[in-house]
Point group: C2
Chain length 311, copies 2
């Protein structure tokens, strides 16, 4: 019997639950999008079952279901401990519930780790032994591939690059760290910092025109404040990544998430910052590249995780 | 044929080259100590061959030689790229030279990684999947065991915790980082900071009475400046370790090296700092413990590395 190559990947987000049938790393059919906020936990689970059954009916070769969740999970046991922004998902044995209901193999993984796995299997980190992925958005998350394996750590918590500190006496964060990267370069923080920069320069720019997207447009139009902002953000992100480089010595750093859409405005200062903060041995062969799978990285990664769990 | 359990471990240091026959993780016979400074590279290599042949003559069951080197090595190929404080060892195929001369299997590893491996196989990190070792001395080094394997990274450089930064705008280091931990808590830096603390407090204390050892004695005698110094050092080391904890989520942190002899003066503020800077999930089951194998960790680790390389 040949190795199964088709699975359902589910990307459970704070806003919506997206799903697809994935075959050999390619999405071949998408499930109906579920709006997370329109359901309590029980009805959300039922909606997920419905999506699974519908996709499976159309694709009988589906061999399993992989789900990525925004929060703390025990991926060895397919268990959800706690979700960051969705109520009612504390201590849920999700893999077992899916298996009992559908008879399909199921895995549960942290969302950013699943994206990391997707980028490693089929995206920007293909073929390497040691990769770091970082997602820049409302929050800053990360994942590690080390020695050709997803590194989860003792409590499945590894990769929390957004909470690692760049300044041990810096801004406090809700997670205990001082100077955690997310407190500098999260979406909201970027917007607030940009608005403050215009304010101290006595330029009238409303805060809603200070989002990362607006700041990228402004920098591309040669606005000096916006250009300076991206230099600063790149330096800070690079400082955090330099620490990861010293500690795990990766071959590639994959950067994704909405803020990464600023492109070279951000990637160029990130590269300069890492190069300035590490010795040549660590950075001369280091690739720093954008994520390739975009919003599908989680779906593709989760499908790969459940297929690879079948051995 | 039973698996070989006896090898020669060699700890090549800036001051001396120490060696021993190790059986099942225990030192059973020590080789003559070689003073590094009394030799050029060629005669040092000959002296090492002599030690190997003498130990092997006394213990014919020796199955290999593992050497730990203070610098950058390619452990996959047994190659020394560059040593930090010893001249004449650039681009030396050391494992091959040993094998050609003695016929024995040979491995070459970075010294701190070999110590980490020793502490993991036979010391304070026995039996765990994910461990971090840090050595506090003239320099600050580190090593990682992740997923039950020594993590070396893309250029065999992983674990450089002493160069990872705690303050991205902090003190510059010779390695490019700003705010690298070693610039705060290396032996010499501790001494200089202590001397400065006494000076600004208008207390006359000569710098030679400001070494980490003297400062531990002073703190144990309730000297308030020395007690404050250890609090500060522990906070800074804890800040660096908190970053490692967020990134790799280990089960145990093993702390060794001369500065670690300060004991609870240092370990207690390190624990408080890590606990304050991470969420409970990451630290409530985290053990922070002193190294167990002391100066023999490298010898024992190198012997284990060559035996484990035999498969």
């Amino acid at each position: 019997m040949s190795k199964p190559n088709t699975a359902i990947g589910i990307d459970f987000g704070g806003t919506s639950v997206k799903s697809a049938v994935v075959r050999d790393g390619k999405i071949i059919d998408r499930g109906d999008v579920i709006e997370t906020a329109q359901h309590d936990a029980k009805s959300l689970l039922e909606a997920i079952f419905t999506v699974i059954e519908k996709l499976r009916a159309a694709h009988p070769d589906v061999a399993g279901v992989g789900v990525g969740m925004p929060g703390f999970v025990d991926s060895a046991n397919g268990f959800v401990h706690h979700l960051t922004n969705v109520e009612g998902w504390d201590e849920v044995p999700l893999a077992k519930l899916i298996k009992d209901r559908t008879g399909l193999a199921a895995t549960v993984e942290n969302d950013v780790k699943a994206m990391t796995y997707g980028e490693w299997k089929y995206g920007a980190a293909r073929g390497v032994q040691h990769a770091v992925c970082i997602t820049l958005g409302t929050g800053v998350g990360g994942g590690l591939i080390l020695g050709g394996r997803l590194h989860r750590g003792a409590q499945f918590g590894a990769g929390e690059i957004g909470h690692a500190s760049i300044d041990y006496r810096g801004r406090p964060s809700p997670y205990g760290a001082f100077g955690g990267l997310e407190e500098y370069v999260g979406n909201q923080q970027i917007t607030e910092r940009a608005a403050a920069l215009y304010r101290v320069n006595r330029i009238n720019r409303p805060v809603e025109k200070c989002t990362p997207r607006e700041m990228a447009d402004a920098a591309n139009a040669n606005d000096p404040i916006a250009k300076c902002l991206w230099e600063t953000l790149g330096d800070e992100i690079g400082a955090a990544m330099a620490n990861v480089v010293w500690i795990v010595n990766p071959e590639v750093i994959v950067i994704g998430g909405g803020v990464a859409k600023a492109g070279e405005l951000l990637f160029d200062p990130i590269r300069r910052s890492i190069n300035a903060r590490t010795v040549a041995l660590f950075h001369e062969n280091l690739r720093i590249v954008p994520a390739e799978l975009g919003n599908d990285a989680g779906i593709i990664g989760n499908a790969a995780l459940v297929l690879d769990s079948l051995g």
